[in-house]
Symmetry: C2
Subunit: 157 residues, 2 copies
C-alpha cells in the first residue's frame, strides 16, 4: 500500500468539489464538507505538499482563440531506443501538448493543437523532420464529444 491511506473522504470531497471549479472559495467548500474553512486550508496544503494537487489551470475554449484543429499522432520510430531523444525534440515543439509511451503499434502517441490546416501542415512537417521518427499516422479531431474530469469520488464507500 502507499500514501492513499493518508487520504480520507474529506480530502476526496474537497478535491472533487474544487476539481469542478478550482476557484470556489474555501469557505464555501467548508460548508459543503461540514468542516471549518481552516480545515479545508490545512487539507489542501497537505494535498499540495504530497504532490496530489499539482496546480490549477483554466479550461479554455481554444477554438474561440483561433486554435481550431487538434489531432492525435501515432508516431513510429526507427528504433524504439530513440524514445527519450525524440521526446526531448517534441518538447521543443510548442504545439505538442501531450505525448505518451503506450502499448500497441505506435512508439509514441501524441496530441497537437493547431490554428488551422496550414498550421497543422507546418507542425506535421516539423515533426516528420525529427531525427529518429520513421513515419506518423494522424487522427484529426473533428468533434470533441466528451471531455470531463474523472469522478474519483462516490465510487466506493
Amino acid at each position: 500500500m502507499d500514501k492513499i491511506l493518508d487520504i480520507d473522504n474529506i480530502d476526496l470531497k474537497i478535491i472533487s468539489l474544487l476539481n469542478e471549479d478550482a476557484k470556489t472559495p474555501y469557505t464555501e467548500i467548508a460548508k459543503k464538507v461540514f468542516v471549518s474553512s481552516g480545515t479545508v486550508h490545512v487539507r489542501m496544503k497537505k494535498l499540495e505538499d504530497m504532490g496530489i494537487v499539482k496546480s490549477a489551470t483554466l479550461n479554455i475554449d481554444f477554438s474561440k482563440l483561433g486554435y481550431d484543429i487538434s489531432a492525435f499522432l501515432g508516431i513510429y520510430l526507427e528504433k524504439s531506443s530513440l524514445y527519450d531523444n525524440v521526446i526531448e525534440k517534441l518538447k521543443t515543439i510548442s504545439e505538442v501538448v501531450s505525448a505518451y509511451y503506450t502499448t500497441g503499434n505506435y512508439s509514441i502517441f501524441a496530441k497537437i493543437i493547431c490554428r488551422d490546416t496550414n498550421h497543422l501542415r507546418l507542425v506535421l512537417d516539423n515533426i516528420q523532420k525529427v531525427d529518429g521518427i520513421d513515419r506518423t499516422e494522424t487522427l484529426i479531431v473533428l468533434e470533441e464529444s466528451i471531455n470531463r474530469p474523472i469522478q474519483f469520488f462516490d465510487k466506493e464507500k
Copy 2:
C-alpha cells in the same frame, strides 16, 4: 473572421498567466500585465462571458490517488450512424474522460482512467457491451512524457 478580433494581447497575456496557475491573484496578474486589477477583473469577466474561459480545474496526480492506469481506446462501430447513441452510453461510464470523432480507422477515439488492471478489465468489458460497438483497440499508457497547456502567447506579435 470571428470574435478573435475582440481579443488583444492583454487578454492573451492574462489567460496565459492564469493558465499556468489559475489561483494567481488578479493583483499579481495586474502588475505583470501593467494594468490595474480592476481591468484584469473586467477582462476576465468578458472572457468568461464570451465562453473563452470556461472554468478552472485542478491538476491532480491521479496515480497518487490510486488511479494508476489510463488507456486510449480506438472504437469501431457496427454502423457509423450509431455515433451519437454510443457517445450517450459512454457518458454514463464515469471512467471515460474523453471521446472524439476523428479521421482515420476508428469511429470513436476515447480515453479512460482506471485504478488498476482489474478495474481496467471491468471497464473494457462494460464498453464492449455497449450496443453498436463492434470491437475496440486498447493503447495502454505506460508513461506520460509530455502533458502541458498550449502556449498560445508569444507566437506572433
